[in-house]
Point group: C2
Chain length 510, copies 2
């Protein structure tokens, strides 16, 4: 009975194994026989809260990772704290191979995005990992974790950072464990580096890279973060977008007013915010901020060629997500992520639903996310939006305005530009090491590997270039529909095990 | 020391008393000697939660009011439940005066608006009444309630329904208690009627008025709800605006998406909502919905004349509230509340502040409040807005759309038109009973009484006209800056005691 129940998993493994060389098949044999321990260790890891505000939780995560590394035979395990902020430290370990002439750094991060438990599915909690028979949005239900870890690869484990990015930490460390247990010697020196404040803007990463430069260079940095291609094909990503934020608050009356007694006399900050936000884009989703698309460095011929070969996920995504047409008619997802973007991450004024009341709210708030491509400067990009708002007649302040200030100016807005922004980064696909990486990943799969000039997402990869003169290449493992950064984050079990094989293949780079 | 501390209160009473006839001065003497009991009873009343969702709390409020009435010597105390909804019932009592030829009904409501405790000042909780030395927005601090109830009249009692509308219940019942204790016989039969679902749209008031018609007609209904004039002058209001709501939800991707990986490809519902909301008004705050200002019955000459005499509170309000200029340049508050209005009561999408994350939200919600003047039909007014949204290209549904529906239509919106709307109502200032009411209120104050053709706020007063053929006149007691319907609701202590005198004066109508 059990065998029949788990047959999709065995089918998956069989298909996978037939396509592999002897290296990966040993890796697969290892993960299959150790799947119970791997899943158990992973859920223990997900149970440790890892939001930026919880420094105790972040510390526990770092200690957990150190223990994982030691158990797997990794040497020189230690914390790399920044001099000016001890928590959260990076976690470091290494495997030096006699005679190796190259070094690979494996990067992942162990911190997660903030959580709002009320927005998660009733069956889920951010830090209580749950096994679900498929996607919870598609009628998946809670299942017990089997002791042997043999799980249908299409089932999913839910919890904050299940995909972003504890899966990265897990695949890297188990990739090495599998290699070692299989008696395979890595072809390069391996160095492991796990960051603890990526989701908080990597505020101390520059300091850490400088401070421990002798440990962290030279070599290629493999960044294990983000999702594989929407088709399920493995993907190599040669760049990332930059990122910057703006927090906007518009002010209404000093105290909430009754919308009957004062409605349409007192200006309503929610309406003012709606007018401001809608001014930022035209009807076709194009950003109307002056100069927004300037400064962009175009793709190289090789990058354009790679992009043209990326299988289009657009139709499938539109079906899955219920999207009639993209925000800008005719713009494909591949084209969209190669442009700078502007998004509303959240907006709020007064109350809605059961708590709604007949009032003119005292303020309206919105959070704007800017993504940047190569050539954009993040502070300059923020400034373009600020200039746009000023040109609309707003008096801009950096504090909650006094009643006198509000009396003085027709339109007052508090703008807090995020200080944790950074620029985009792109590594050339033509580098010899890039070609080796492509070959290694290709050896671990029987489907074509997707090559992307850039990810839509962001990581502060420019820091590795700036402080270590190191190239970076991103090799993600998570399923594309993982809800990263939002409620109901999850990892497809097949992706977790597949990611272990990918990392083990990279450790055997030719 | 105590006497010096309380001197503003005594000064206030002295000024007040010198202006009164012997009737009100007896009333004042009573309230002064019973102020401890009055305040204590009022704070007990405010401690009983009264939001619509809390049927047990509403029942406790009704029982509390029955006990108050019995203690004050009011007869025939009973609950008037609707046949189709027993909770919340209206609470009824009466004082029949031998030989009286007219009947006055005193209306107030004991239910309150929903509360969001997180939005209240840290020192306050909605159902834990607190005495504050002035307005909490202007550095007022928490003070102990003095046992004798002798409180600076400019201090305030904070709590949900402190002004809207438990103050109404309290002033009416203590007005009668003061009269009775002073040995003054009312000049009319007095009937008391306290509603329990005004803030929930008075869904069963029509049923109750029909069911108990023989108890509730004929006679004039005095509606004790809303604020006095912003100048602090007593105010008589001859009408109310109607009210109607629309709940709007616009849908984004089926699951929250990473704003980097999908930003500017997947349409963002927050941006769509901003565009929709901003389309509802022009740059001058005028509603752009087709026909929005049609159907309005103009003011009569007498009403225009009264309106012209209303002292303008605009400048004072602009100073207090930090308003540079009104929403529509040149439109006074008095003019604004004599027009239909459209306001955003709340809007929400994704998260802001510490819970903000880099996502494209799955939906954006807004609550629209429409106020109506005489001539507007509330369902027609809702329909005008719905037609506007349809003309913008939205496919309108009454349920959360399926993925297939979202695939089919470029723009999908769920519109839930509130079913609890009602029309405006206005009583003629020329009626003989209206003139008697004006005289009675004038006898209780040494300042001019403000006569308003309509309140900006809403009450379903058309029901009294429709089912009882009864005129209604509103006599409010609360301070204008009471935060009704929002966080930090409060009543100025002077207004509470002043309101008792007003109600006692009305019970002696000539």
């Amino acid at each position: 009975m059990k065998r029949i129940f788990f047959s999709p998993f065995f089918l998956f493994c069989t298909l996978f194994l037939t396509a592999q060389s002897s290296g990966p098949s040993k890796i697969e044999a290892y993960t299959e026989s150790h799947s119970g321990d791997i899943v158990h260790e992973f859920t223990d890891f997900l149970s440790i809260p890892n939001v930026a505000a919880d420094t105790a939780g972040l510390q526990r995560n770092a200690i957990f990772i150190m223990d994982m590394m030691k158990k797997k035979g990794i040497g020189s395990v230690r914390l790399l704290p920044a001099r000016t902020a001890v928590i959260p430290p990076a976690v470091y370990g290494e495997v030096l191979v006699p005679g190796a002439t190259q070094t690979l750094f494996f990067y992942a991060h162990y911190d997660g995005q903030p959580v709002n438990p009320a927005q998660w599915n009733n069956a889920l909690q951010p830090f209580t990992p749950r096994l679900i028979s498929g996607s919870i949005d598609k009628n998946g239900t809670v299942q017990p974790f089997p002791a042997d870890g043999k799980i249908n690869p299409d089932w999913r484990i839910y919890g904050r950072s299940a995909s972003d990015d504890k899966a990265g930490v897990d695949c890297i460390l188990n990739g090495y464990a599998a290699l070692r247990a299989s008696g395979i010697t890595p072809t390069a020196n391996l160095k492991f580096f796990f960051e603890g404040e990526e989701e908080a803007g990597s505020a101390h990463l520059d300091e850490i890279l400088q401070q421990y430069q002798s440990l962290l260079a030279p070599g290629l940095w493999i960044i294990c973060d983000g999702p594989v291609h929407q088709s399920g094909q493995k993907q190599i990503v040669f760049g990332v977008r930059g990122d910057a934020h703006l927090d906007l608050t518009i002010y209404g009356p000093a105290r909430p007013l009754h919308s009957g007694h004062y409605g349409n006399w007192a200006p309503n900050p929610a309406m003012q915010m709606a007018r401001l936000l809608s001014s930022l884009k035209d009807d076709n989703g194009r950003v109307t901020v002056k100069g927004f698309y300037d400064d962009v460095i175009p793709l190289s011929p090789a990058e354009k060629e790679a992009l043209a070969k990326v299988p289009s996920p657009d139709k499938q995504l539109q079906e899955d997500l219920g999207i009639h047409s993209p925000e800008t008619p005719g713009l494909s997802l591949g084209e969209a992520i190669n442009q700078p973007s502007l998004n509303i991450n959240g907006m709020q004024s007064g109350n809605v639903g059961a708590m709604a009341s007949n009032q003119i709210p005292t303020q309206a708030t919105a959070v704007i996310d800017l993504r940047l491509v190569l050539g954009n400067d993040w502070k300059k990009q923020q400034q373009k939006v600020i200039d746009h708002i000023r040109a609309m007649g707003y008096h801009i302040v950096d504090h909650d305005p006094t009643t006198a200030e509000k009396r003085q100016f027709a339109k007052v807005i508090k703008i807090i530009p995020g200080t944790d922004g950074y620029n985009a980064q792109r590594t050339s696909m033509d580098l010899p090491i890039a070609k080796k990486v492509i070959a290694a990943v290709a050896s671990s799969t029987n489907r074509p590997v997707v090559l992307q000039p850039t990810s839509g997402g962001s990581l502060p990869l420019y820091l590795f270039e700036k402080y270590l003169h190191a190239p970076t290449i991103s090799i993600p493992v998570a399923n594309h529909d993982n809800n990263q950064h939002a409620e109901n984050e999850n990892i497809r079990v097949g992706n977790l095990f597949d990611g272990i094989a990918t990392m083990a293949a990279l450790m055997q780079i030719k």
